[in-house]
Symmetry: C2
């Protein structure tokens, strides 16, 4: 049992202004951890009121695998939808060691000081394997994690990349409804999750390190092509010249790519997350981009294309959920899996058996 | 109308030894192109007999989107399954320009001269976009395409990567049942298709070019990690020294990766596809690997893991097919897509509408 002071939810309760909560509870009472259950409308009202603990609990529903939680989450999302869409959504990626945490801390504090509210989400499909997400961990963003106007949420950890991405996408809706007008979606620049992030953000920011050739190898070509802006971190002290050279190299490399659909030529900038140098320059670039694509119509077009993508993703996810969460299928799959793993049954025969069972059940009702 | 001599199917008919076919048909008769319909058993018997035109037509059924073709394809696959699994399956990848076609031509001729039968398949998810696959195009493999013991099939072009990959995986079964004891699955080293290929082959071969640093950037890190062998092409003439240097560099780079689950240390070799230098060395490596993993049990283990993967892939594909090919859904989706694209409906509401329609229909029967 963790000390209540260490429980982020409990911490949130203390700053909760929307809905009355007991100011303190005896941590040794057995039912202390038992949260009150809220109705869909209570959740929605709380979220629209900017109530962080309720937002946080609603996100937990989104991430839950339980069908009753999923139903509730969907009802909340649907009611929040008309109040969403008003944030600038920024995808942030970079290889491990590029200084993403420090940068997000610096970027976030910069935006907060301008009076904005920021949600930091993450997509890390590897988090399931490693049993714990490295992304979005509050402790990595020292200053931001102390701020009331920042909502930091680690990557949902269960399920496929598609499932994890859908949950993050739904969380964006809730955060926007709660009044967060900037949303960061963080990911590591080594996996396939960048495509998923790209499908839910307005601006895709790639953090690179100062240095030559070698460092560029770490990032995949496809990710470079997705970037609306590349920012070279640690451009400070002795490193400034190297950063400038990397900037020239990256600019040259970008020239080889065709102009993206946005009509925007990706920019390359240097900055220092740690020493907070040129943070404003980075955000001027982001805002220049947003103005540009809002004027040429690409902003709306991209958001609508993303909606189409998510319509299909949502359908595909639900089809799978309906199958794999069917009690008969849940019982059947481990046996089939064993039979396939021990070569007693072919993958096709096993798949057919499961599908026949499912569709027979479906048609029974 | 193409000249019958140019029609690969017609060419196949001439060499067909399994089932009696008219030796020649008048190309100007209207029903010339009308193929005879075969029963599942006729297909299976033909395939097991090594009848190439029937194999080719069965693969067309596998690739077809029509439900009646799909049903037939599944029945054929199920009957071919007990006769499959006996080939050495090799995934071959490399960036465009690495000389994949020339290499496959040389590798294939080498294996054919040893008395083997080779099927060359491909996975190219971009083929849908570009309306025509660049991979598996017969004309790229000059010598191999003239050989009776080589079956070359371009990438299936319709559908998602998952769908394309499943079709290729199913085609492997049919080819093996038809007596092909080597199967190549070719892909371009720039997409996400390598993971799919990796899930269906025993050995993953990466073709690289002689040269320094820059050339390595073209290949993604994840692909390097998948490779069981890296072979450096164009190690001929003035290029030999450069190739040797690349070999040293790649060996050093591979040292940074953890030993793969197979327990096999990936090897790096040089060769020349064009001048046919060290082709035998490449295949000695492949066979050394196969012996190694057959002895330590990894060969069987990997195949069974792949079967498990394909059980889930097959289920997921069928769930989607059942949905998207439902006539009511087929009619509904274009309207929903338009509403989402014009921002008149959110992705979630549209998805819900389609799913409700589908599950209501399902429960009606």
């Amino acid at each position: 049992m963790t000390h209540p002071e260490d429980d982020p939810l409990y911490q949130g309760l203390k700053v909760n202004k929307g809905i009355a909560q007991p100011p303190s509870v005896n941590p040794y009472l057995k039912n202390r951890a038992k949260r009150r259950s809220y109705s869909v409308n209570e959740y929605v009202d709380g979220i629209l009121d900017g109530n962080i603990p309720l937002l946080s609990q609603a996100v937990t529903l989104v991430e839950s695998a339980k069908p009753e939680h999923q139903d509730m989450a969907q009802a909340i999302i649907e009611k929040c939808l008309p109040h969403s869409g008003n944030a600038i959504r920024v995808g942030i990626t970079g290889v491990p060691g590029a200084g993403k945490s420090t940068s997000i801390d610096a970027f976030g504090m910069y935006l907060l000081e301008l009076g904005h509210k920021l949600a930091v989400l993450a997509i890390d499909p590897s988090s399931e394997r490693s049993k714990g997400s490295i992304l979005g961990d509050k402790t990595r963003m020292e200053k931001l994690s102390m701020e009331q106007n920042a909502f930091i949420r680690p990557s949902p950890s269960a399920g496929s990349l598609g499932g994890v991405a859908r949950k993050t996408r739904e969380t964006i809706i809730l955060c926007e409804a709660a009044g967060f007008n900037y949303v960061f979606v963080e990911t590591v620049g080594v996996g396939q999750s960048e495509t998923a992030v790209h499908s839910m953000v307005d601006f895709f920011l790639l953090i690179q390190l100062a240095g030559t050739g070698d460092e560029l190898q770490g990032i995949k070509r496809g990710i470079m092509e997705m970037a609306d802006g590349i920012v070279i971190n640690k451009a400070d002290g002795d490193n400034i010249e190297k950063a400038k050279m990397a900037k020239r190299q990256l600019k040259n490399a970008l020239h080889l790519y065709p102009l993206p659909d946005s009509g925007w030529t990706p920019e390359v900038l240097t900055y220092s997350g740690y020493y907070k140098l040129n943070i404003g320059g980075v955000w001027d670039m982001v805002h220049r981009y947003i103005d540009f694509v809002k004027q040429n119509g690409f902003f709306e077009k991209k958001r609508n294309e993303q909606s189409k993508y998510w319509m299909y993703e949502t359908i595909n996810e639900r089809l799978k959920n309906d199958f794999y969460r069917n009690p008969a299928i849940e019982k059947l799959m481990p046996r089939l899996e064993n039979e396939v793993l021990s070569a007693r049954k072919s993958s096709f025969v096993a798949a057919k058996e499961a599908l026949d069972e499912y569709y027979t059940l479906k048609n029974k009702f």
